[in-house]
């Protein structure tokens, strides 16, 4: 072993102890049985997986996927526009913009989402204003809906899209745009044939950084979505915390993990195949 590789040991230890081992525990639990009072009984069974594949849970998984896809797509469009504007701004302003993007991280996610909930909530500033202007509305629909969930997700995950794209845009040579203009390309043609291909790597890593956590997100839908908007993340949380059905929760977790690993794998393989072309 080369001396430099020793430096990697802490990382491997950390990964092994705090990621791999807990994951293995989850996998093991997913094959166990729920005790009468919510404990774990070590009777091996596949029943949890049988339940996890029931239509109800698959439906929840499907709506989570839809939400994650919408979140990722919105973040990608907004992120491209934002990072484009940021990277072409005068250089003295760029630091300010980058800090502005990172600024929300200084406040805890739950507090940020709660603030949003208070803002749109019963007797909050939004509803008070609408009342004042005599605009009729349904206070419950207004304070808890799918659009709010999407809004919360997009604002939360946008920085993960903007930062890699900003880095790519900063390195992007804008004379390529002029070259394309000169050769006769219109704005859309330039966007799709010159700009986006050169941002591909950053865009793809941004997409993964947004898609993966937004598929498992449970705080935002819980606070902004209300009882009607159950997502996969909430489902898993409920199994562990409320229903005390750890084996089923574990099975659901393993299922989602496999899905995400599969998506990531296909994603990178598709990428590799394209690069060979």
């Amino acid at each position: 072993m080369k001396s430099r590789q020793i430096l990697a040991v802490p990382a491997f230890l950390w990964f092994g102890l705090f990621v791999l081992v807990p994951l293995l525990i989850v996998v093991v639990i997913s094959f166990s049985t729920r005790g009468t009072y919510g404990g774990i009984e070590w009777n091996w069974t596949l029943e949890n997986y049988h339940n996890a594949f029931s239509w109800t849970y698959l439906g929840i998984l499907f709506s989570s996927l839809i939400l994650a896809v919408f979140t990722t797509a919105s973040c990608a469009v907004l992120g491209i526009l934002m990072s484009w504007a940021m990277s072409t701004a005068p250089s003295k302003n760029r630091h300010f913009y980058v800090s502005a993007v990172v600024l929300p991280f200084l406040t805890n996610l739950v507090i940020r989402i709660y603030a949003l909930r208070v803002f749109v909530g019963y007797r909050g500033p939004l509803q008070a204003t609408l009342n004042f202007l005599h605009i009729p509305f349904d206070p419950f629909v207004l304070s808890q809906n799918k659009f709010l969930v999407l809004y919360g997700m997009v604002t939360t995950y946008l920085p993960f899209m903007v930062l890699p794209l900003y880095g790519a845009f900063e390195k992007f040579d804008f004379s390529l745009v002029e070259a394309a203009q000169d050769l006769g390309a219109g704005p859309w043609k330039i966007l799709f044939s010159v700009i986006l291909p050169n941002l591909k790597k950053a865009l793809l890593s941004g997409v993964l950084l947004v898609f993966i956590p937004s598929l498992g997100e449970y705080v935002i839908p819980d606070l902004l979505g209300g009882a009607k908007n159950m997502l996969y993340g909430n489902l898993i949380t409920e199994q562990f915390l409320k229903a005390r059905h750890w084996p089923l929760g574990s099975a659901l977790s393993v299922l989602m993990l496999c899905l995400l690993l599969g998506v990531t794998f296909l994603y990178y393989r598709g990428l590799g195949a394209k690069n060979v072309e």
């Binding site: 040579d173 002029e178 000169d182």
Partner: protein, 300 residues
């Protein structure tokens, strides 16, 4: 063929170009020469349509084109840093403009192959730009512009990133190509030697103004301004006293008593013997005798 009439460009505070007038003939190799910041690149970008002029007109064969977008003008440009599309092969780079023109596949294929063989780059068709050397990338950049058969090819300091030897080689190659195909080139450079070697005519620019437009020989031998003479070659400034004038030659006595003789550019009504003068001396391009090396005498 191409006429530039009173083209001016001013930003909120400064003026980049002051009413430039220029006429370029078909098949001409025209160089815009000047120090950095003189406005030569701005002028070229206005011709290309990448920037808009704040005043003036551009005529191509008598038709106004200044309102056209870069994409609509029958000109193509070779950029200083080549600006090849890094995600496309050499062949795709060259075909980019032709694809946009919606030509048939056979036509595109034929023209790409033709231009590649012209530049002796046929073996590089599938290569990615990052694997090319500077000279190869340069050829591809020129091929990508020329394949569209532009009425005018605009070149923005295309050789400045190459080393001396390669630069000299490419200078010859470009000039030969231009003459062989009868193309119209507008060439921006800050390298006097390059401009003098390659061009049919040179326009010298300084501080947003076109100060002189002449053939290389004319501009070298009879620079109309001190700026032009200084810019066109290593000059030494000598101070002395005017002692004799005969025809078009002036003799100046320097402080150590030695005499130099050469052309002068002072209006005859301002000239008088005994006046104190700035004398510019420089190594001559064609002549080698000391007498011929003096020129450009200015009233102090």
């Amino acid at each position: 063929m191409l006429e530039i009439l009173n083209i001016g460009k001013s930003f909120s505070r400064q003026t980049a170009l002051k009413s430039v007038n220029l006429s370029i003939a078909e098949g001409e190799f025209f160089s815009l020469l000047g120090p950095s910041g003189c406005g030569k690149t701005t002028l070229m970008r206005i011709i290309a349509g990448l920037e808009s002029a704040t005043e003036g007109r551009i005529l191509l064969n008598g038709e106004r084109i200044e309102h056209l977008q870069a994409a609509e003008r029958p000109f193509n440009m070779v950029f200083q840093k080549y600006s090849l599309f890094p995600h496309m092969t050499v062949g795709q780079n060259i075909a980019y403009g032709l694809n946009l023109k919606k030509l048939s596949k056979d036509e595109i294929e034929g023209r790409v192959a033709e231009i590649l063989s012209l530049f002796e780059m046929s073996d590089f068709r599938q290569r990615m730009p990052e694997t090319l050397s500077g000279g190869q990338a340069q050829r591809v950049a020129i091929a990508r512009a020329l394949v569209n058969r532009p009425k005018v090819l605009l070149l923005d300091e295309p050789l400045s990133a190459l080393d001396q030897k390669l630069r000299e080689h490419m200078q010859k190659e470009l000039r030969t190509l231009q003459q062989k195909l009868g193309l119209t080139f507008i060439y921006v450079t800050h390298d006097q030697e390059e401009a003098l070697i390659m061009s049919d005519r040179i326009g010298i620019m300084n501080k947003g103004e076109l100060v002189q437009v002449s053939s290389p020989r004319e501009i070298y031998e009879n620079p109309e301004t001190i700026f032009a003479s200084q810019f066109l070659g290593a000059t030494s400034l000598l101070q002395g006293e005017l002692v004799e004038i005969s025809q078009d030659l002036a003799t100046v006595r320097l402080s150590d008593g030695s005499l130099v003789r050469g052309k002068f550019n002072i209006p005859s009504d301002q000239i008088r013997l005994g006046m104190s003068l700035d004398t510019y001396v420089r190594k001559a391009m064609v002549f080698n005798r000391l007498e011929s090396q003096v020129f450009g005498i200015r009233d102090k």
